[in-house]
């Protein structure tokens, strides 16, 4: 959505220029440079690699999780409906893509979007109660759907392979087999860029505005011609579509999908990403995911430093380090809720607002 923050002297001369995804040429350039850097990230020239294998796996992880988080933000942040069952849709997308590929021989290139559409259908069905119930009651209904789908994963051998899980083929484009994380990185990056743009476009067009209207004041939204039931259910469909894409990318990345991977904890983590990133912010979903993925990394880094010092010789600290890491993640979420309830996206806007009048700060 358009922000009220433009640098002084930045005037728009056409409606087209006033409705762009990125509010200024500078911010668009910033995003393009970001994508260009990411394109360069997996390159290996001679023996030199831009980023280590480990960083590539982290970035891939951020990519597919961020796509799912984007979907959850459409549901929770933009439409104002809480969902505690997002990981089940993520899982459904993963199994569906593997199933379509294994059983019907659908090439992975097509099975990912098809799996997402299938997940959308499931999401629409799960979303039907949303037409009737709101708030905490809806949260409980989505919790039920989480457990029902998890149970379905465990029992539906034909679909998921049951307790042994299912294998997923590696990604291939028209006969060309993608090999290794460094190549798969580009697949995830392409999907992330496309999904990001789709979400941003949605939010600046008719149905996106309708979703926000339903969140902000459903009674007047209805009088404005917004069919509440339709949009409440549709929002579940949209969020499942994104979760489905994310899940399918996850499946073909690990090439193995286990039924235990999609529990309520992952659903909560998705909620954490969206809340930390900023409810109702497209970019926030991305920032929140980066934060949630990198926080444990930063913690182990800090722990390793601590271990190298004299403190590392104190047995109680060494034993507690693993727990410290977990506790820090929880602490970070709590601190965010207290000090930055609008999320990282809000912090980013504050930083931009500071530069708004640069170099004249008055």
């Amino acid at each position: 959505m358009a922000q009220a923050l433009t640098r002084c002297g930045d005037f728009k001369t056409s409606y087209r220029a006033d409705t762009t995804i990125f509010p200024s040429a500078r911010s668009r350039a910033f995003a393009l440079v970001g994508v260009a850097l990411l394109i360069a990230a997996p390159l290996q020239i001679g023996g030199f690699s831009v980023l280590s294998d480990y960083w590539i796996t982290l970035l891939i992880q951020i990519g597919y999780l961020a796509i799912a988080a984007l979907g959850l933000n459409v549901l929770v942040g933009f439409t104002g409906q809480i969902s505690l069952g997002h990981s089940a849709f993520f899982g459904f997308g993963a199994f569906a893509s593997a199933y379509l590929n294994n059983t019907y021989g659908v090439p992975v290139f097509f099975s990912i979007p098809l799996a997402a559409l299938w997940t959308t259908a499931v999401g629409l069905i799960v979303g039907i109660p949303a037409g009737r119930i709101k708030g905490l009651y809806l949260a409980i209904a989505t919790l039920a759907s989480q457990f029902i789908l998890q149970d379905f994963f465990a029992r539906a051998d034909w679909f998921t392979g049951g307790s042994s899980g299912s294998l997923a083929a590696p990604f291939a484009v028209f006969g060309y087999q993608i090999s290794g994380d460094r190549q798969y990185f580009y697949v995830v990056l392409a999907y992330l860029v496309v999904m990001y743009l789709l979400a941003a476009n949605l939010m600046r067009s008719r149905d996106g505005r309708a979703l926000v209207a339903v969140r902000d004041h459903y009674l007047s939204a209805e009088v404005m011609g917004v069919n509440l039931t339709k949009y409440r259910v549709l929002s579940f469909g949209i969020s499942s579509f994104f979760a489905g894409i994310g899940g399918a990318l996850y499946a073909h990345y690990l090439q193995y999908v286990s039924v235990e991977a999609f529990d309520i904890l992952l659903s909560i983590q998705f909620l954490g990403m969206v809340i930390i990133g900023g409810l109702g912010s497209i970019m926030g979903s991305l920032l929140g995911t980066i934060f949630m993925v990198l926080l444990p990394e930063a913690m182990s880094w800090a722990v390793n430093i601590l271990r190298a010092t004299d403190w590392g010789n104190v047995p109680s600290i060494v034993n507690g380090l693993a727990f410290l890491k977990q506790a820090a993640i929880g602490l970070a979420i709590v601190l965010f809720l207290i000090f930055e309830p609008d999320g990282l996206a809000h912090r980013w806007r504050q930083i931009k607002a500071y530069w708004k009048l640069y170099p004249f700060s008055y």
Binding site: T19, L198, R206, V212
Partner: protein, 271 residues
């Protein structure tokens, strides 16, 4: 001003909430191009009447007919498509959206792009459509003199401006019938004058039929073509403003049984 057939017909409408009878057998009609006011003491059922017309409530008895079409059982969201716009007594803006987005929501039933075409934006004409409607919305913004605040977040605006944004949102629907629930409540004199001017212009120049609930009798008498008076859910008078103000029942409703003083009625109502 009444055309061939009235734009809005309310026939014998009653509304009960369990024991409470909010409206009983109210009948009136509003002609095309009319500026029609509904007045009455607090709790008289004015807003309930408006809610029956806009679809929030379904009348227990009676029919609501708009443009010759019985809409009694129609959902509020479907009524927007018939060209019914409304504002609310207590502000009902989308507080976290910009003023512009608020008003664009008013275009909802006129826009054709959907979830898929909206997401693809550039390739399937959604952009063209959005920009065309943006142009028309800008005309409304211009008319209501809210140009400087169009990028502001609606929830951060002062009361008078929010009321104006709400009017803009209702106008964006391209309504034939504009329902206004106390458009001037809580405003100072200057803001009231502006609002009266907008309503007059929308009625006379933009050709919108207006049904307005208002407590400020001076404004009601000044700009209304006809007035309906409700008291305890019943219609007690209907007609030209001056005639209605002189009506004995109306004075009684506003002032109690011993009403003598003509000037007291508007004063009491203005409270």
């Amino acid at each position: 001003m009444t055309g061939e057939s009235p734009l809005l017909e309310v026939r014998e409408v009653s509304l009960s909430f369990r024991g409470v009878r909010a409206l009983s057998h109210v009948t009136f009609h509003v002609g095309r191009g009319e500026l029609f006011s509904i007045i009455g003491p607090n709790g008289a059922g004015k807003t309930s009447m408006l809610n029956c017309i806009s679809g929030r409530y379904t009348p227990t008895e009676g029919r609501v007919v708009i443009d010759g079409r019985d809409v009694t059982a129609m959902k509020p969201s479907a009524r927007a498509g018939l060209g019914i716009g409304r504002t609310f007594q207590n502000l009902a803006l989308f507080n976290h959206m910009t003023v512009l987005d608020n008003i664009m929501v008013g275009r909802h039933h006129l826009l054709r792009n959907n979830v898929a075409t909206g997401s693809l934006y550039w390739f399937v004409g959604a952009q063209r459509e959005e920009l065309a409607h943006r142009r028309q919305v800008e005309e409304i913004i211009d008319f209501l003199e809210i140009t400087p605040i169009r990028k502001a977040i609606a929830g951060t605006l002062p009361y008078g401006l929010r009321k104006r944004v709400e009017l803009a949102r209702a106008v964006a629907l391209k309504p034939h019938l504009l329902l206004l629930d106390e458009p001037m409540a809580g405003m100072n004199l200057e803001e009231k004058e502006d609002m009266a001017r907008y309503i007059n212009d929308l009625n006379a120049e933009w050709g919108m039929t207006v049904v307005m609930i208002e407590h400020d009798m001076a404004v009601v008498v000044d700009i209304s073509d006809r007035v309906l008076v409700l008291d305890f859910g019943r219609k007690i008078a209907e007609g030209e403003p001056d005639a209605v103000m002189a009506d004995a029942d109306v004075k009684k409703a506003y002032l109690g049984v011993d009403a003598e003083d003509d000037r007291a009625a508007p004063a009491a109502a203005a409270q």
